[in-house]
C-alpha cells in the first residue's frame, strides 16, 4: 500500500477546475517530484492534500486512512507537514521560536525534546545559527525559506510536502537544500516535492509526475522523463536538455 494515494482528485477555485481528476501515489520512503508549468495545479495538489483547498471529488489516503474532509490541523496530526510556497514565517517571532513552533502538532513530547530537535535544525542549517534570535521579518528571502523548511521538518512528519523549496535561494544554498532533502529521506521521511528547478528536483527524486493544466501528463523515473522530448522541451528547459 502506498503511503500517500490520491485517486481522481478534482479541485476548483471559482468557476474552473484547477485539478481535473488526478491519480498519484507516493510509496513509503520515496522522494517524488511534481513538475509542470505555472498554473498547472502543482501547488493546488499540495494544498488539497493538507486540507487548505477543499476538493470537489476524489480521495486522498494516507496509509489507507482517508484525509478528505479533515481540517488542516487534523491532517498535520496524521503526519503530513506542508512547507508552503512563499515561506509564510511568523514575522514577529525569532528564528528559534519559528522553528520550535513547527513541533506544535507533536502531542506528549517534552519541551526538552523539542528544544533538542530545534538544535538539530540549526546543525542542518548552520547559516541560521547566527540568526537564532533574529526576528522573522528581518531575514532575507532565502533565510526565511530555510526557516520554513526547518519548521516543516520539526513536525517529524511521515510525509513532507515541499512547495518550491529552492525559490529565491542562492545556488550554494539550493545545493544544500537538495542534499538535505536526501538526508531527510534517509531519516525515514517521505517527500513530495513541487519544484520549478526540474534539474535539481529530478536529481534527488525517485519518480516524477508532470502536470499540465490540471491533468496528469506523464509519470516516470527521472531518466524516463529526461528521455521524453516533449516533456523536456516544455518543462525541463531547452538548454538543460542539451546537456
Amino acid at each position: 500500500m502506498p503511503l500517500l494515494e490520491i485517486v481522481g482528485l478534482t479541485a476548483r477555485y471559482g468557476a474552473g477546475d484547477v485539478l481535473k481528476g488526478i491519480d498519484l501515489a507516493v510509496e513509503d520512503g520515496e522522494i517524488v517530484a511534481l513538475l509542470g508549468a505555472n498554473g498547472a495545479g502543482k501547488s493546488t495538489t499540495l494544498r488539497s492534500i493538507s486540507g487548505l483547498v477543499p476538493h470537489v471529488a476524489g480521495r486522498i489516503l494516507l496509509a489507507g486512512t482517508a484525509l478528505s474532509g479533515l481540517k488542516p490541523e487534523a491532517i498535520v496530526r496524521q503526519g503530513v507537514a506542508h512547507v508552503p510556497e512563499g515561506r509564510q514565517i511568523f514575522p514577529g517571532l525569532t528564528v528559534r521560536e519559528n522553528i520550535l513552533l513547527g513541533g506544535s502538532n507533536r502531542r506528549g513530547v517534552s519541551r526538552r525534546e523539542l528544544e533538542r530537535d530545534t538544535d538539530d535544525m540549526f546543525s542542518l542549517f548552520p547559516d541560521l545559527t547566527r540568526l537564532e534570535r533574529a526576528l522573522g521579518w528581518t531575514l532575507s528571502g532565502g533565510q526565511q525559506q530555510m526557516v520554513a523548511v526547518a519548521r516543516g521538518l520539526m513536525a517529524k512528519p511521515r510525509i513532507l510536502l515541499l512547495d518550491e523549496p529552492s525559490l529565491g535561494l542562492a545556488p550554494l544554498i539550493v545545493q544544500q537544500v537538495f542534499r538535505l532533502i536526501g538526508e531527510i529521506r534517509k531519516r525515514g521521511t517521505t517527500v513530495l516535492l513541487v519544484e520549478q528547478n526540474a534539474h535539481m528536483a529530478l536529481s534527488v527524486a525517485d519518480r516524477g509526475y508532470v502536470l499540465e493544466t490540471g491533468s496528469l501528463l506523464i509519470t516516470g523515473r527521472p531518466d524516463e522523463l529526461w528521455g521524453n522530448a516533449e516533456v523536456r522541451a516544455a518543462y525541463l528547459g531547452g538548454k538543460v536538455a542539451a546537456a
Partner: protein
C-alpha cells in the same frame, strides 16, 4: 504617414477606448434623473413613509463617502456621522440663526466639513489601521461634546428647530415634501455616478493601489499620503452634503442624531451592501434604514441587529451583498484588437559608457546589523547589470535603498548624474526609475489591466492623464508579456509566475529609463526562465538600463553585461560575467560548485 496618424484610427475603433470613454454611465444618470422626476409626481408630500425615504437618501449620500475612504482607499473612518452633522448644522445654523438662503448655508456646511476632514486627514493619516480608527472615534466623540456643550453656537442638547427648505424665488417648489425628496434622490443619483466613475479614474486607481499595497503604490509613482488625504477630504464633503440635505428634510436636528452610533450605522450600510461598490453601498444603506423601520418592534435592540449584521456579513460575505450580485453579472470580454507596440521597444539606444545609476559608499544598518556596508557600483546606460550574492548579503536592501523605501545610513545614489538620495519613492519613479519586488507586490483587489494601467499613468510618463492612451499602453505591456487574455481577471487569481510577469508589465508600461528587477525568475520553471531571459534580451538595445538580482546563473549568464557580487553587505567582486563567475571568492561564497555543473 506619421506614427501618430497611424495610431489614431486604431484608438478610435479599439474596444479598449470604451473603458476610457468620457460618456461612460452618462445614459444611466439621465435615466436615473428622469425616473426621479417621475417618482416625485407620485411620492407622498408628507408623513412617515416620506421621512423614511428622505433618511435613506441622505444617509446613502454620506455612505458614498465611506465607499471612497474605506472601500477605495482602505482607510478606516469612524467619524462619518460627525461630518454628516457638520453639514446638517451648517444648514440649520445658517438658515435659522444667520438667515442665509438654504443653498448658501449648505455650501458653507459642506466647506466646513471638507476643511475639517482635510485637517483631520493631514494630522492623522500617517498613522495606520487601528490608530486611525481610534483617532476618528475621538474626533467623533469630541464633536458630539461640542454640539452638546457649546450652547451659544449650537443651541445645545435642545437642537435647532424650524429649519426651512429652499425658499428662494425659483426654488420654492422644493419646499414641498415630494419635490424635496426628489432633490435628495437626484443628488444621490449624481453622487453615486461620480463615485462610480471615480473608481475608474486615475485618482480612483491610485486610491485602490494605496489600499492594496502602499509600498508598491509609492514605487509606481503614487504620492501615497496625498491620495489618502484627498480621499479623506472627499469623504467628509460627501458626509456634509448628505447632512445638509438631512437638516432640510426634517426641519429639526439635535446632537444625538450625529453620535458615534450613527457613524456605525453608516459604516454598517456600506459594509452590508459592499463597501467597494457605490451600488452595493446604496443597496445596503437603503435596506438598513428601511428594514428596522419596518421592524419597529426591534427598536430596543436595533444596535444589536446592526452589530450582528456586520459580523455575519464580514464572515459570510466579505464583499457585501453587491459581491453576490456582481459575481453573477456577465463580464463583457475585452475584444481583441491590435494596439501599438510599447514605445520602449520602438525607440533605440545602444549600450553606452554613460552612467545611468550610481551608488557610492552606500550603507544601511538595521540596529547592529550592517545590511549594506559601504557599497559602490555604477550601472551603465543600456546595459543589463546583475547584482548577485548569497542570501542575506544585502541585494534586496540595496534595491530598497535605491528606490527610496529605506533611507540609507550613509552614501549617495545618483540617477543620470542627479542626486536622488533624499527623494521619496514616488518622486524617484517620476524620474524614470521602476522596480519589481521579490515578494510580489501587486494590487490584489483590482484587475490585471488596472494594475498595469497604474504603471502606465505614473507621473512623468508621456501619456499620463490621457485615459484612452493609458489603456492602450497597458494592453501593449500585457501583449509584451503575453497576458492580454488575462486582462480582466483579478490579479490575485493568477498563478504565481504570471503575477511576476504582471509586475514586469506594470513597470514597463511606465516607460522607465532604469528598471530594477528583484528575483524576476523565482518561481518560474526552466523553460519559463529561458523565455524571461529572451524577454529581457528583447528589452536590450532600446536604451533601457536594467539592474537584475537573481539566483539563476543560467539567466544571469544569458542576459548580464556586467556583474557585481555582494557578501555580508560588501562588494566582493565586480566586472565582466566570465571573470566574476570564475572568481574563487565568488565560487566559495556563492556558487558552491564550479560553474559548468551549476549550468548543466
Amino acid at each position: 504617414m506619421s506614427a501618430h496618424a497611424e495610431a489614431t484610427p486604431i484608438l478610435a475603433r479599439h474596444p479598449a477606448t470604451r473603458l476610457a470613454s468620457r460618456w461612460r454611465g452618462v445614459p444611466g444618470v439621465v435615466i436615473g434623473l428622469l425616473a426621479t422626476i417621475a417618482f416625485t409626481t407620485v411620492a407622498p408630500t408628507q408623513g412617515y413613509i416620506l421621512n423614511v425615504m428622505m433618511q435613506a437618501a441622505t444617509y446613502a449620500i454620506a455612505v458614498m463617502g465611506i465607499v471612497v475612504v474605506l472601500g477605495y482607499c482602505g482607510q478606516i473612518s469612524l467619524a462619518q456621522a460627525a461630518f454628516f452633522g457638520i453639514g446638517a448644522y451648517g444648514v440649520a445654523l445658517g438658515t435659522v440663526d444667520a438667515g442665509l438662503p438654504f443653498f448658501a448655508a449648505m455650501l458653507l456646511g459642506v466647506i466646513a466639513a471638507g476643511a475639517l476632514g482635510l485637517i483631520l486627514g493631514l494630522t492623522t493619516l500617517r498613522l495606520g489601521g487601528h490608530y486611525l480608527g481610534m483617532v476618528t472615534i475621538s474626533f467623533q466623540v469630541i464633536f458630539t461634546l461640542v454640539l452638546t456643550n457649546w450652547i451659544s453656537l449650537t443651541h445645545g442638547p435642545d437642537g435647532v428647530p424650524h429649519i426651512e427648505r429652499p425658499s428662494l424665488p425659483g426654488f420654492k417648489f422644493l419646499a414641498a415634501g415630494n419635490t424635496y425628496l426628489g432633490l435628495c434622490i437626484a443628488t444621490l443619483v449624481v453622487i453615486t455616478f461620480i463615485v462610480w466613475r471615480l473608481k475608474m479614474s486615475r485618482l480612483g486607481r491610485a486610491m485602490q493601489a494605496v489600499r492594496d499595497n502602499e509600498l508598491a503604490a509609492s514605487t509606481t509613482g503614487i504620492a501615497v499620503f496625498r491620495v489618502k488625504v484627498i480621499a479623506f477630504g472627499l469623504s467628509a464633503v460627501l458626509g456634509g452634503i448628505g447632512g445638509g440635505l438631512f437638516a432640510g428634510a426634517f426641519s429639526y436636528i439635535s446632537p444625538d442624531q450625529f453620535r458615534f452610533d450613527e457613524s456605525i450605522v453608516l459604516l454598517t450600510g456600506a459594509l452590508l451592501g459592499g463597501v467597494r461598490s457605490p451600488f452595493g453601498a446604496l443597496l445596503g444603506t437603503v435596506l438598513l434604514i428601511v428594514l428596522p423601520e419596518m421592524l419597529r418592534v426591534l427598536k430596543q435592540v436595533y444596535l444589536v441587529v446592526y452589530g450582528a449584521a456586520v459580523i455575519l456579513i464580514m464572515v459570510f460575505l466579505p464583499d457585501g451583498m453587491w459581491g453576490l450580485i456582481a459575481n453573477r453579472l456577465p463580464r463583457r470580454p475585452l475584444a481583441a484588437g491590435p494596439v501599438p507596440k510599447l514605445p520602449l521597444l520602438t525607440r533605440t539606444g545602444a549600450a553606452s559608457d554613460e552612467i545611468a545609476l550610481e551608488i557610492t559608499g552606500l550603507a544601511k544598518y538595521f540596529g547592529g546589523l550592517k545590511a549594506l556596508d559601504g557599497v559602490d557600483f555604477a550601472v551603465r546606460r543600456g546595459t543589463v547589470h546583475a547584482l548577485i550574492g548569497p542570501n542575506g548579503s544585502g541585494k534586496t536592501t540595496c534595491i530598497n535603498v535605491m528606490t527610496g523605501l529605506y533611507r540609507p545610513t550613509a552614501g549617495r545614489i545618483a540617477l543620470r548624474g542627479q542626486d536622488i538620495t533624499n527623494l521619496p519613492p514616488h518622486l524617484r519613479t517620476r524620474r524614470g526609475l521602476a522596480r519589481t519586488f521579490q515578494n510580489i507586490r501587486l494590487f490584489r483587489g483590482i484587475t490585471v489591466l488596472e494594475n498595469v494601467m497604474i504603471g502606465a499613468e505614473r507621473p512623468g510618463n508621456d501619456i499620463a492623464g490621457q485615459p484612452a492612451a493609458v489603456v492602450e499602453r497597458a494592453l501593449a505591456a500585457l501583449d509584451f508579456v503575453d497576458l492580454r487574455n488575462e486582462a480582466h481577471r483579478l490579479v490575485g487569481t493568477l498563478p504565481y509566475g504570471h503575477q511576476r510577469y504582471v509586475e514586469i508589465a506594470r513597470a514597463l508600461a511606465g516607460s522607465p529609463d532604469t528598471l530594477l528587477l528583484d528575483e524576476p525568475a523565482a518561481g518560474l520553471n526552466p523553460s519559463e526562465k529561458h523565455a524571461l531571459g529572451l524577454l529581457l534580451r528583447r528589452l536590450k538595445g532600446h536604451g533601457l538600463t536594467i539592474l537584475i538580482v537573481d539566483h539563476d546563473m543560467n539567466l544571469v549568464e544569458q542576459v548580464a553585461d556586467h556583474i557585481t557580487v555582494l557578501n555580508f553587505g560588501r562588494r566582493i567582486a565586480d566586472g565582466l560575467p566570465r571573470t566574476v563567475l570564475d572568481h574563487p571568492d565568488v565560487v566559495a561564497a556563492y556558487l558552491g560548485e564550479p560553474r559548468q555543473d551549476a549550468a548543466a
